[in-house]
Amino acid sequence: MASFKPVKVQTIPKLGERVTEDTLYWKNYKAPVQIKEFAAVTKIEFSPLPPHNYVVTASTRIQVYGPHSLEPVRTFTRFHDAAYGGSFRGDGKLLVAGSEEGLIRLFDTGGRVALRQFTGHSKAVHVTSFLSDGYRVLSGSDDLSSRVWDVASGTELNSYTEHTDYIRAAAASKLNPDLYVTGSYDHTVKLFDVRVGGSVMTMQHGHPVESVLLYPSEALLVSTGGRYVKVWDLLKGGQQLVSLKNHHKTVTCACLSTTDNKLLTGSLDRHVKVYNSSYKVVHNFDYATSILSLAVAPDDKVIAVGMTNGVLSVRHRKHTEEKQEVLGKRRRNPAYRVFIKGKNYVPKQDDFLVSKTVKQHLQKHDRQLKCFQVSKALDTALEVSICIWRRFHKPEVTVAVMTELNRRGTLKNALAGRDEQSLTTLLNFLIKYVCAHSHIHAREMTHEYINSNIIFILCISLNVILGDSNKLMRLLQRLMELLGREAELQQELLQVLGILDTLFASLTPRKEVTGPAVPPIMQGSQLQAA
């Protein structure tokens, strides 16, 4: 005896992005928390040490936030004009920032007053950073110079004016305290060696450089500027490895995630894109306005994004995995014995084995179809689709049941003897979904709908004539209208298809081939639907 085969609900393959491990990883963030700053957030940086506080530079303030607090832990308001490039030292205890006035100030994260003040730049200092020994500070300024300062004495050690335009990006090497990279609006990225006393490498980015970034191995360098993100191989003497053009506006910031060193870039086009190791975009975050700064916490727990309208958006990673682990641990200890009970019993030679039959679980409409209660099955199926809870909203189930009834030749029976209300429900369902392109992604479904429903409509019209209800009549008219419009649309689409066909045919050099390789299912459904 074969078991009852439930109605096959046709699932439509989701078009577009495919779900990969990366997508799942990057999707696993909570909804962003918005913190309003006074002006555009130009720089965000995470402290390398736990608890991974982050410093946010916006307007005249530099604020330090804790990883979970919405209120700043500490605020530095010593600047008279806009502050730029707030940056931690490697131990997270000191903080340096430049400003519009050309001053560079050094703070203790515990204190409030500036410990040091480096003067010497004649124009705004947009980038500051500690060198990896922690005793020197580098700065890049609009006066075309990049300088290195001594923290202990507060004096300027070196000054290089090799760039011919504003310096807006800099990155210090973590492995060598004497190396740092600067990017400038003169379209170049330069690698400086303090020991040599000048730049040792120059790379042509081709666009004003907005940010530079060194990979932890420091063999690769990322520069962003214009719509391009370029990766350079420093070990090969600054050879360009790859040039990415995935944003459609200037790429303003870039950072690396901790796991697998995935590259993230933020742009004025309001997107943050995540690249995999072969530099393909694997995920995309959308934001409300143009992005100026971006930072990822060292353990990927937090993604902080600063925008032009002064909003700091912070996303926290979901803790689901941990929770599950904890729960699993708590449950597993007693549960193991329960589950194993009787399972590991090996029957002896002369034991009589009685197997327990597994009960097949059926949906409600399947149970009704099994008993040939066609009318009830249709009711149940319609209930599913008009359910107010969106979670249980499954028009494809309704359609599947209708198709099944049609296949069984009992659609008429299921429709017979219905009152006005149930017919209204049915008609409303049809009106809603008869050309539901937007609701259900693929067009194939439409074909299915219409196909099964033509017979349907005929049946209903019979009923309506008998019922002679004004309300039903109106609904039916609306449905007819919709169908007419849909037919027109399909006709137009066919025309477009024809035009495209001729275009393709004229493009292909081969003479004999007549049909272009149009995705077949697409074409098929359109033709049939029309």
């Binding site: 005896m1 074969a2 078991s3 009852f4 085969k5 439930p6 109605v7 096959k8 046709q10 495919r18 990969t20 491990e21 393909k280 002369d350 179809l369 099944e404 296949r407 069984r408 030749g409 194939e444 074909h447 196909n451 081969r510 004999e512 081939v513 007549t514 049909g515 272009p516 390789a517 149009v518 995705p519 077949p520 299912i521 098929g524 459904s525 033709l527 049939q528």
Partner: protein, 768 residues
């Protein structure tokens, strides 16, 4: 001529086992089910579903089997060859042979008679039974419409709208007829009848699905009947259980309905058994039921309505797919149950398994348009299976889907990989896999004037190894309808026939390389040569057989011949062509390189050959005769118009089969029961002892108290022991001093006894 050639056409299995009602019998250990299958009677074991014996001897279709009422280990079978045979089915030997009647009785097949045949008691093996008397005239040819009641007191038969009851003792006939139509226009005709074994009650089934229970039918006027109705279509068969507690009925719905005779409204159901139920039978002890289905299947059901075993033969319904050989199991693959593909082992004459393609509930209702598997194709290694299912063939709105199945090594079965709905806008006519090993490629041709190439795409992005099929190329040629497609043996060329034109495409670039045209008439079949003949392309039209050489792109040879089927052997260069010639089909075997055929046989079978397939042999034959060398590597199976599966068999092969055939014996190991544990071991020991040292006097004078078994027997609680009468003889025997001479006598006895047992006044059904 056939004998001379040393080659003959033989039928290979696939006989209908549900043609007549089977019977269930039991010896001390095993239960057997006997059923008529072609001109054989097959004995199946109900527990293992294996065929344990084949009773061979009849020369015509076996039309009925019945147990010997006096010995449940013997069976009578009657056949269309006019003989009745008595068999011992445990050992599979013929005991008696009754030449029932002279052939002249069977002249008019329209008019069936029920005759009583007296089987004479004579010691000879071959007996001519002459004494017979007609009981009822003009009965239905269906044996289900005649039934014996209450230990043979009366016989009831239905025909049309009339029920006839004949009492043997009174020699009286009563006829009861129903009106032509009921009030609601129901069809009142009888379809089947069954008699209560203990009570005077007759159950009849009707075309409108009603069941009537007749009582008081031993008088003309005051008979009564009550009506039950559950079946929505005609009642196919009826059967009372042994004690008469229940009535079983079945029909097209394929639901076994168990009616309780006492409580009229109570019934139990066992649904979804398979095809329409054609026969139900009950074992003599009432423990087992069996239902025979039209799709060549017998279900064995426990009386608690639990399915216990399924015996499935070759399903021969409508066959739309080609005959195929599964490269893995070497099973024959074709349409099976509706919506399924069956994998049928040709060697074992047994269905291996049935693959559910449609995966939808089949509604057992006539006139319903349901999905059917129309095309199927295997890839070369058997890893991929492509199927096309269709619905709405008669109406305008065709629904079809192309499904691709991948073989899962772990699960040892095919799993659905990709479903493509509406792969083409019209019916798919033909499809084939590319034989090349690098790419997995499928080509489909359809009536929408296109052929499509499908490729297996591997996704490197995703972590999971999930490959699915997608369309790679759509081709057409001047808006003509493609009919056939065929890949060359290396997979580099694809030939697609468009009406009269054969187009050759390169499978790498999908460039049209050349066209071959040989009017008049559209191309019917297309086939590439293999191995050394791979440069040849064969094509057939209604009148001619063509062979093109693809190196020169010219016609090599052609011959006027109406070829209806063309197939190449995958293991050799040979190509087989069937040609219809004046009502008979002729067979030609040839190589594309030479137009002279290797082998021809006229009139292989009557009518048109529907399908054929080459099945590779497990071990090649080494036939030295040049004319039969084409049968060395593979075997040719073909399906005729009458749905008979035929094949060619050489003389050497026949002999080998005859020699190697061993009667399958029932496994002699005794079931391990507590009683066996007690006494069986002891007996074995004893036997061993007797065999080893019978002469040892010490053993013989062994005092009985020493026997451990008897001690055990005496110390076991009485309620766990079998009946005392059963144990008695054994017990006494064990106390006696054993003697070798007495054992021989015991063995002879069961053989001599049934031979002299009376078979008084047997009535056998001779409905043909």
């Amino acid at each position: 001529m056939v004998e001379e050639s040393g080659i003959r056409v033989v039928r290979c299995g696939g006989n209908k086992i549900s043609f007549r009602a089977p019977i269930i019998s039991k010896d001390s250990r095993y239960e057997f089910l006997l059923c008529a299958s072609g001109d054989l009677v097959k004995v199946f074991s109900t527990s293992t579903e294996e065929c344990v014996h084949v009773l061979e001897g009849h020369t015509g279709q076996v039309t009925g089997v019945i147990l010997n009422p006096t010995n449940h280990l013997q069976v009578y079978s009657c056949s269309a060859d006019g003989t009745i045979r008595l068999w011992d089915f445990i050992d599979g030997i013929l005991i008696k042979f009754f030449l029932a009647v002279s052939k002249s009785v069977f002249v008019s097949p329209e008019n069936f008679q029920l005759v009583a045949l007296h089987l004479p008691k004579v010691p000879e093996q071959e007996v001519e039974a002459r004494e017979m008397s007609a009981v009822l005239c003009n009965i239905s040819s269906n044996p289900g419409s005649t039934a014996m009641g209450r230990g043979g007191e009366y016989v009831a038969s239905v025909m049309g709208r009339q029920l006839t009851v004949y009492f043997f003792k009174k020699l009286k006939t009563y006829r009861f007829s129903l009106k032509a139509t009921d009030k609601k226009g129901a069809k009142n005709a009888f379809t089947c009848v069954a008699c209560h074994p203990k009570d005077d009650c007759i159950a009849t089934g009707h075309e409108d699905g009603k069941i009537r229970l007749w009582r008081n039918f031993n008088q003309k006027k005051e008979y009564t009947y009550s009506t039950q109705h559950w079946h929505h279509d005609a009642v196919g068969t009826l059967c009372f259980t042994t004690e008469g507690m229940h009535l079983l009925s079945g029909g097209v719905e394929s639901v076994l309905v168990q009616w309780h005779c006492e409580e009229v409204n109570k019934k139990d159901f066992l649904p979804r058994l398979g095809g329409a139920i054609s026969h139900i039978c009950v074992s003599p002890d009432g423990q087992m039921y069996s239902t025979s289905h039209l799709d060549n299947k017998i279900n064995i059901i426990h009386c608690s309505l639990k399915l216990s075993a399924v015996i499935q033969g070759l399903v021969k319904g409508n066959i739309w797919t080609d005959l195929m050989i599964d490269p893995r199991t070497r099973a024959l693959v074709m349409n099976g149950r509706p919506g399924h593909l069956q994998f049928y082992s040709l060697q074992q004459d047994k269905q291996l398994y049935s693959l559910d393609i449609v995966q939808q509930e089949y509604i057992n209702q006539e006139g319903l348009d349901q999905f059917e598997v129309m095309r199927a194709a295997f890839s070369v290694g058997g890893t991929w299976l492509a199927t096309v299912e269709e619905r709405g063939r008669c109406t305008s709105d065709l629904e079809s889907s192309l499904k691709l199945w991948v073989y899962n090594e772990k699960a040892q079965s095919f799993e659905l990989n990709t479903t493509i709905t509406a792969a083409h806008q019209d019916r798919i006519m033909h499809m084939c896999f590319s034989p090349s090993t690098e790419t997995t490629m499928l080509v489909t041709t359809a009536w929408d004037n296109q052929f499509k190439v499908w490729l297996l795409g591997l996704d490197s992005d995703t972590q999971k190894e999930h490959a699915s099929w997608s369309c790679d190329y759509v081709g057409s040629y001047h808006g003509l309808q493609p009919t056939n497609c065929c890949f060359s043996s290396d997979g580099s060329l694809l030939a697609v026939s468009f009406k009269e034109v054969v187009t050759i495409w390169s499978s790498d670039t999908w460039e049209l390389l050349t066209t071959l045209c040989q009017p008049p008439g559209p191309i019917r079949e297309l086939c590439f040569g293999r191995l050394s003949c791979s440069k040849y392309l064969l094509g057939t039209t209604a009148k001619n057989l063509f062979c093109w050489n693809l190196l020169t792109c010219s016609l090599e040879w052609s011959t006027p011949m109406d070829v209806c089927l063309l197939r190449s052997d995958p293991l050799s260069e040979n190509v087989v062509a069937f040609s219809l010639h004046s009502g008979n089909t002729d067979l030609f075997v040839f190589r594309p390189s030479e137009p002279r055929p290797l082998f021809t046989q006229k009139a292989v079978c009557g009518g048109k050959v529907q399908r054929c397939v080459f099945s590779p042999r497990e071990e090649p034959l080494d036939s030295c005769d040049e004319r039969f060398q084409w049968l060395n590597r593979s075997r040719l199976y073909f399906l005729t118009e009458l749905m008979e599966l035929l094949t060619f068999s050489t003389k050497a092969e026949d002999e080998r089969i005859l020699n190697s055939r061993k009667q399958l014996l029932v496994d002699d190991s005794v079931a391990v029961t507590p009683f066996y544990l007690l006494l069986g071991k002891h007996r074995q020991q004893q036997e061993e002892k007797q065999n080893s040292g019978v002469s040892q006097a010490a053993d013989r004078v062994q005092p009985p108290q020493a026997s451990v078994a008897i001690k055990e027997l005496l110390h076991t609680p009485a309620h766990v022991l079998p009946a005392a009468s059963f144990l008695c003889s054994m017990f006494v025997n064990s106390l006696l001093i054993s003697n070798t001479g007495s054992r021989n006598l015991q063995e002879e006895k069961p053989f001599s006894f049934p031979l002299c047992s009376g078979t008084n006044g047997q009535i056998c059904w001779l409905g043909m």
